[in-house]
Symmetry: C2
Subunit: 232 residues, 2 copies
């Protein structure tokens, strides 16, 4: 029986360019093998220098950045742009975020969040000897349903998709619903303890089964090819 | 600090028409005030008699049901139909499910999953004196990203949307991202301990803050009006 313990990592300092997030996490919490460490995109962007200046007096000054970070605009309505980013994510405003950054600045998405996750995972393993999975999470809206949820934009050491094709269901029939987006469910679960207003950027999910761990990454395994997509 | 304990409810019997799910849950687990009880749609459909016979020898025999349960077809590709159900949900095959039901039958969505959730919540409170939130969950795909996640199709006693508009972020600025789909994040978190192949239909999320509880329902608060939707 899987029983999960989900808790935020308190006491992290404000993150700046070049900071060693893996070491900061390990200073703040005693990780154990098999933990899933969820890190919000915002502090990755800060550590990787993806903070850019914008005109604080102009509420639309980040809009040229949205165009720059996008490869395809899907929808516009008023100031809202839904686009496909150069990373392949479809989201509002190309994932550019003005909250929890200094006034007059905006946070762009990391260039390669899977790589960011790998670096943190490798550093935790190399320096602290603990084998964890790492997920970089961000907050996306979705069509048809109000509200935002957190999803994974990068990962390392954790199965992105649990492929249950061929697995019998509880009545012994082969399952129809086969590919569970594990990393997105983990990102959403972690958001529950981070909270948007408290500024806690890291959470731990402890107790998951061994089959959650593995090699895969979000960009290859989650992003649906435009040719497979009915809504692009 | 929010710290969550998420665990499945083991030992529930197979559910049949007319069964008292609330009593069965309370027999299987000792609930405490503030628990969120997540129940998968499948057993609600079974208890409410939403199981219909189909031709087991014809893999497409549930397709007329999909049309019957839909008010609008959004996309078709091969055998896949993405439609808006009469409840307002946009999903594949109108939420009709052939896994974890007897061969030769299909499970339709409950008529009103918010009402189903209210009944369970009220019965747990009335008979067992415990104040809980209840979520009815189902497994939906989504555009742009591979894999499925669990979302809420009904709820009672739990905030559907956490509205953070006007809340300052950690740096004291007003938040941009404002409406968190709490019930969907809770449904995804619960799925992590239920698993699709184990047939565990109920999970508990314990430890959430008091502000998660409240009156609201999925159909009014999550389903986005077609006129507000950029992808319909």
């Amino acid at each position: 029986m899987t029983r999960l313990d989900i808790f935020p990592v308190d006491g992290l300092p404000e993150i700046g360019r070049g900071d060693d997030i893996a070491a900061m996490i390990c200073d703040a919490v005693e990780l154990v093998d098999g933990d899933i460490v969820i890190v919000t995109q915002k502090i990755i962007s800060k550590a990787e220098g993806k903070i850019v200046e914008i005109d604080a007096t102009d509420p639309l000054s980040h809009k040229p950045l949205v165009e720059q970070e996008s490869v395809r605009i899907l929808r516009r309505r008023g100031e809202l742009i839904i686009s496909e980013t150069k990373h392949g994510f479809v989201c509002a405003n190309a994932g550019i975020d003005l909250s929890n950054v200094e006034r007059g600045t905006a946070a762009l998405l990391p260039d390669d969040s899977d790589r960011s996750a790998r670096r943190i995972r490798d550093r935790i393993r190399g320096r602290f000897g603990v084998g964890v999975g790492v997920i970089i999470s961000d907050t996306f809206g979705r069509p048809w349903r109000r509200g935002v949820t957190d999803v994974a934009i990068g990962s390392a050491g954790v199965q992105v998709i649990l492929d249950l094709r061929g697995t019998p269901d509880a009545l012994g029939r082969e399952m129809q619903v086969t590919e569970v987006a594990l990393v997105d469910e983990l990102a959403s679960a972690a958001e529950l303890v981070m909270g948007k207003s408290t500024g806690i950027p890291v959470a731990i999910i402890r107790g998951g089964p061994a089959e959650w761990l593995g090699e895969s990454n979000v960009r290859e395994d989650i992003v649906r090819a435009p040719s497979d997509d009915l809504f692009r």
